[in-house]
Symmetry: C2
Subunit: 177 residues, 2 copies
């Protein structure tokens, strides 16, 4: 962990005052060590394509080098599109952990892991989309709630056996309204 | 794009032989420029917690600094867990674009965007899990097809209105078997 990240971590954990320089690691409990590890670890995500919108038409244009990964997608009716909320990729927006869902203050303050807000620590958006066609590197879809040119991260086919609950879906009141 | 990445890109695009040093960008079409941009761009993903397994019990242990993001998740029955397939985070496994689903050679060679293979350009896994309880930073779930200590990237509540197709689910034969 470099010094600035470590300071940030210590400050956010409220521990800056109680830990001296040399004794850092040994003063941490195991859980804190894992958390410290989380602060310095990151994984690299590469865009595999872009969302393209024109009027009411929407395509996922997959970059040439990834086009082979689409083989067989035309056998499915629906696809999960994982894309990056690139307009919100700022330290501030990645640190907003609670919001009023749908920007409506009548909805209770809710954690971003309990709603689909476009601000979250990792800016991955998940949308289920109806496939109209797959031709070459281009997937024509019915619609998507994404900005034009949003970076596409991954596509996964919709499979009811694993993607739908077998029983008892329960929802909070704000989502039923 | 640094030289090594550029060379890799040129080689993978089969263009290494036809483009000279100075005239690089101007020789590319617009689509290729976007693709080149994709090759150097990456986004940073930070683990927000870990999968913990003990016997038949499974928890998502969210790091302290992200625990506020869980507020309200207990109002839901099911959660999408996005986690990182960290054991497969190698250049080779991130470059396998077609597989026989479920490792069964009787299944047709299929693009990784058309199945849920644990090798893909971006190693994000997506699992729908039943929530048993949410206490502090710990989400007790029924089960998950992930290794112990897999890095958790994001949680999203299951919302039938956006997460289930309204009509006509279609699947390829290999998935019906």
């Amino acid at each position: 962990m470099d010094i600035s990240r470590r300071d940030l971590f210590l400050k956010s954990a409220g521990m800056a005052a109680c830990i001296g320089g040399g004794a850092f690691a040994s003063d941490l409990t195991k859980a804190e060590t894992v958390e410290e590890e989380g602060a310095k670890t990151f994984f690299k995500l590469y865009p595999v394509g872009r969302v393209e919108k024109k009027g009411k038409s929407v395509w996922l244009r997959i970059f040439d080098r990834y086009a082979d990964a689409l083989k067989g997608l035309d056998g499915f009716s629906h696809v999960w599109v994982l894309y990056w909320l690139d307009k919100n990729d700022t330290p501030r927006k990645r640190s907003l952990f609670q919001v009023h869902p749908r920007g409506n203050k009548k909805n209770p303050l809710t954690g971003v892991f309990a709603c689909r807000a476009p601000v979250r620590p990792n800016l991955i958006a998940l949308s289920l989309c109806k496939i109209l066609s797959v031709k070459g590197g281009v997937v024509h879809i019915e619609k998507i709630d994404a900005f034009d040119s949003s970076p596409v991260l991954d596509l996964k086919p919709y499979a009811p056996g694993i993607d739908s609950p077998t029983k008892g879906v329960r929802l909070p009141d704000w989502l039923k309204r």
